[in-house]
Symmetry: D4
Subunit: 223 residues, 8 copies
């Protein structure tokens, strides 16, 4: 690996989550160098996030050919994927079609850990029936990741209806006072529904990591 990086190989053992590569802000050369080290001894899949297709195209062929790249979520996965779990314990829902890229980042992160997630898109509160008709089904999930931009109203509506763990992922969808996701973020934080948890704007990856922690917490709690 380049002397510009120190791979935290012990992270998976320590906290159950492997290091991933945030590609934004890194040169193709830096990304390739990290990939080389990270995939050497590790049988687990390596996740690359916020990887623009132009940067992906500039990676060396040995990385590109190995990678399962998805343009919508701007993610790539390298290495052997785990066998997917049978039952989905996590649902990922979005308020609108524009939020699907972020949701997909969460779904693909979960897949890297063998978690199958159920994904429902475009159930925002402007057409409330879309949520209400899925309500009973949604109640069965241990964790619901809610992805929404603009006003972020979906976070509170879901928070008032579902008993499970709720992770709000505000997105930069919208314009003007959507403020690149800050309004949805603040709405999630100031929610009138109790116990909603929040991640950074557009952070589908972080939401998935949190969901994995929560599933582990369950086991740890010896319920």
């Amino acid at each position: 690996m380049s002397p510009e990086s120190v791979w935290d190989a012990a992270r998976r053992a320590r906290i159950g989550l492997a290091e991933a590569i945030l590609c934004e802000g890194k040169t193709p050369g830096q990304i390739a160098a990290i990939c080389a080290v990270a995939t050497k001894d590790d049988r687990h899949p390596l996740l690359l996030t916020r990887l623009e297709s132009t940067v992906f195209a500039a990676l060396p062929p040995e990385v590109r050919c190995e990678a399962d790249y998805d343009a919508l979520s701007r993610t790539a996965l390298l290495g052997r994927m785990p066998v997917p779990g049978e039952a989905a314990r996590i649902a990922v829902v979005t308020a609108g079609t524009s939020d699907v890229g972020v949701a997909r980042e969460a779904v693909r992160t979960l897949a890297a850990y063998g978690e199958t997630a159920t994904e429902w898109a475009d159930i925002g509160v402007a057409g409330l029936w879309r949520l209400l008709e899925r309500l009973e089904e949604l109640k069965r999930f241990a964790v619901v990741i809610v992805v929404a931009g603009m006003d972020g109203a979906l976070f509170s509506v879901i928070g008032g209806l579902l008993p499970g763990a709720i992770i709000a992922v505000p997105t930069s969808t919208g314009y003007g006072m959507s403020a690149k996701g800050e309004t949805a973020l603040h709405a999630a934080l100031a929610s009138c529904a109790p116990g909603i948890l929040v991640t950074n704007i557009d952070n589908g990856y972080g939401a998935a990591c949190a969901a994995l922690r929560i599933l582990r917490a369950a086991r740890q709690a010896d319920l």
Copy 2:
């Protein structure tokens, strides 16, 4: 009147809305001087807004005795009130109990113009049934003034369910990232529901004025 003020007596004739006195930032002396001039020739009620009870108590007795003061909305009304309209064409709803003061400011402003408003409090989305069970009734109003702080999710939920004119009044209710009403304000502006109109934070008075303009617009449109 004090040379510090010029009463816009023609406003009612010009735009159908009389000047009101925003008391915040004025001394009791200034308020009293304006009242003296404003009530001289005018048979209509005079409205004082954002009038703290301590400032009200410091007003001269001739103003205080005439006034119908309401501490919750921090408003006072001077002069003869019009006969209230029979049917309520405007509903004023709040997300929580803490928003009632602002809602009351709107209701009392409407009353000064003879408009009777129906008021429902505490129907926020954390308990969505409270809204849904009033839905059919709410659909009958020409204008619905929605008063909410914190996440402002109620604006979008109502905007997706009701066909009438909707006026969102964000309130400074809440703490932390409720940001003194800015989050509710931004959520109203960035709403995923179409055609929601917004006023300044805590501006129940302005919402009532806008509702009066809308009712007048109807007449003007010759529908």
Copy 3:
């Protein structure tokens, strides 16, 4: 339609406003998929907003050929347009030439519902006579949509002169402390003129939807 979208076909029946497609943040593929479903059973026009000409050019021919595209307002209309109403009940005015794109978005949205709007451009307060000489004519409209950026002074001046319903649309026109429309937005919210209602920055679409709600409110109010 793509599984990434759930078309809210019932919205028109529910609130009198059909779902529109906000194209910003969606891929051409996503837009085309939504168009396919939305136009299947619906005889009404479908509105696409914030559709950059480069994205429009990337849409499949079956969408492009059907569409009435306008570059200035970045809108497209698909489907049969309603017969335009005879008398204009809504005026759309702008402070400057740079605001015309946003105003046009409002005008075209209204047209999709058969509302003819009168459009006056460039009557900002730096040359106040431009407004004053149109004043008597403006007073005849039920609703006036005011589109302005920079200082947003036009909102308050009109608010002090006209009795009708006033919808302020702040625009991102200007530089420096125009702050991408935030100054005009804040000026509209903090206006010294009573009863001004405000939409998101550059939201001509939302202003038109609100105007339609107001006209309907009139009817509902049974005046």
Copy 4:
């Protein structure tokens, strides 16, 4: 209850969390009226948050005498408390002594649901050994609520060391660019450690509710 409030009695059945009373922004009269209704049929404890001692003192005696009031956390509990659980599954840690009030709000909220929490104070990163010497013990908890203001560095350090679910509660501790908790909040959201979840500033109550959701998620996930 006052017509200004609608008690959401069904909330506990619906999402497993009872409605609590946010006292800030409510008059003593409003608080008392809500207490009267909320405690009528309910055998569960009622939680009052952000209740200043001066407001508590202004409540009617029948509320005050029933209440277990704690000034540091500004909380009161009414009604019969559940039997505390034996093993602590949740830890609440603070960066400094000034954060203890918020931590206590979380601990008391958990107690209202029978959850015993272990509380460690003042283990901020300026003296890193204070955290490191508790590390093995902390690893045993299913959920760790981390309460920190100022730079919020503790969130990331714990996030890199512990495998369980981590809930970051930023506090308004500090001055200048601590910015009333915004810096800690932003640091939690932008954390370099994966899977940290965040609540509103000073929201110990919300963190406890989220922890309860997580414990329930475990059960639901049928692990």
Copy 5:
């Protein structure tokens, strides 16, 4: 004088403006110590600004008795005042009654330099006739200081109508998105009228100093 202060006695000779004492943030002891030195050798009046009445009351009698204190503008003047100029070359106008305190600070500062200013209050654009009927008179002034809060629309309207030098003083009048004067400030900076100059929020003193510089500039320009 206290060793905590160094009086800039040369300032009047250097730039034609004497040092004044900004009292906010200083203890009565510090203020008194500065007064003692500043008034020793100087025959000119000394100006104290932002001097709360409670702080004024805490000053030693030898300062208080000498001082001409005005509570509305929170200013005090010590020492012999110059003979007032005959003709007013500067007008100070306010948008509302709440702005009079700031205007008065400007008027009193000008008086300390022998400049008589004409003061008109409460001519905001909500009642535009109040401005228009004074327009011809206002055109005769070399400098017009405009004092306005809230939306700051008066700055642009005057800027489009008057040919003289215009100094905009935004005030902290208003609530919500008036944002303690920031909206008026931003509106003045982003004005659509050309050549408006702006001071800090509530800075009547600075506006007066600038007006004095402008009058001097005239002389210097040898017109």
Copy 6:
């Protein structure tokens, strides 16, 4: 002219400043249409500001050939220029080389009114001698326009040394917490030197207009 514009031909007679065209945010077609009308009857030069070279290149040849275009200041001048005044009464100084474009906008605006300005660049306070050695010369100007970005320290230093009218033009020079000119703007507004006047960020045009107003004020004041 296009119906999208209303030329304010009376502005020069009214306030002594002709309308200029802010090109940013306008299409080449809109700019050309305004030019056509504005130059028809007017013998005075027409100023175009914030005109990017790519937009200038897209203007029709009849506009381009007439225009005196300057890329650094992004300005164009059309029409016959007035005879330049002999003596410079206005100085334009910049803190750094990067600020020269904005300064040039001011100089060219002044030239359109026959005012010759003296321009000194790169005299920022990091090398204070550069200012101090020009100090005596600077004192002779009636108006000094100071153009500076980053920390804006030059405004206060000049304000403490020069007696003339001082116009601060903050620029968007710098990075990070230079905040696109906001830091320089705020420093100018909060200056410890009395009587500094401020324009919008990068607004060399506005500073020149203000300087022209000041020179006129002198004449008006009949000094």
Copy 7:
């Protein structure tokens, strides 16, 4: 000590700086409990910062009697002070009298470590001669702590003139766009003078700690 605190007794040995007590946000009881533990085994002085006089008065007598309390800097010192160093290697200068409290906090912190500092007040750039006449003397100090609010221009002027280490402490002095110290902070960060280092707003304590680190760095560098 209270179980709410863990005293970091090893800090002095580890980084050469003892833990201090930030009193803001702590109850008198919490402060007293920490004092009890911190002073038990330690012969060094204990520093309490941001200690309001009302809170100091509420401390138990055994703390109050031991303490050397200074109201201007809101600091208290407990325990035996070290012998002051003979030669001052650090200068603390302020722009104005209002900044002296913060400067005094730095001076008293340095005294707790035996460093004598030279203090000059009120040498802001509005009267530049006050700085220039002290320039040669200031050049002799290894470290200069500059304390300034409002525009923070003093930071850059000193940074362009002095070769030593410069620590900028922005203060919350000023009003309006002084923005509680943010403008001075941003000016220090965006300074045109190279190598200026910055602390939090009003953080005289932190500046002193940094100065102590710098003096130690010198020793460590083995120059």
Copy 8:
């Protein structure tokens, strides 16, 4: 040199730091003109910062051929470099690979003054062992420059562990609430560890200048 620039040749003699060219915001022509003058009489290396590779490529060949250009740090060095010092007294560490460009700017600035710096990359707190295993070595440096974006947690952790002078350089690394470096900046300013000093966002150049001042301070202090 172009009349648009005044080279501060005396700066090196005055404060020990030569003027450098901030290329951002300057045209290639302006940069080349400054280079021509700056390198004429000076034997010392000239530093160009924030020089994009496209701008570098547009410089005239006589500048380009002389220059040692580094794309990662966007810096160029012209002229004869000093002999590098033997022992590294300054360490430059980064939290992540994305921060290396800013660190390199610092290292290259130091090299221009003959200071050799030791550089360690990617030791952020998400993998705390990376820092802890270098701790003893880091303690030997007089100055540690810490370069970090996102949450900026590394600043506080290092501040609590190392006794030397610590310079925090926040970077614009990260997305969403990393806020282009503002979160890391605020975390550094609000750090719970005492005596951390801060520079502008991405200001590796400024950090190096400050480190040079600190080393000089040591000499000056006559330790």
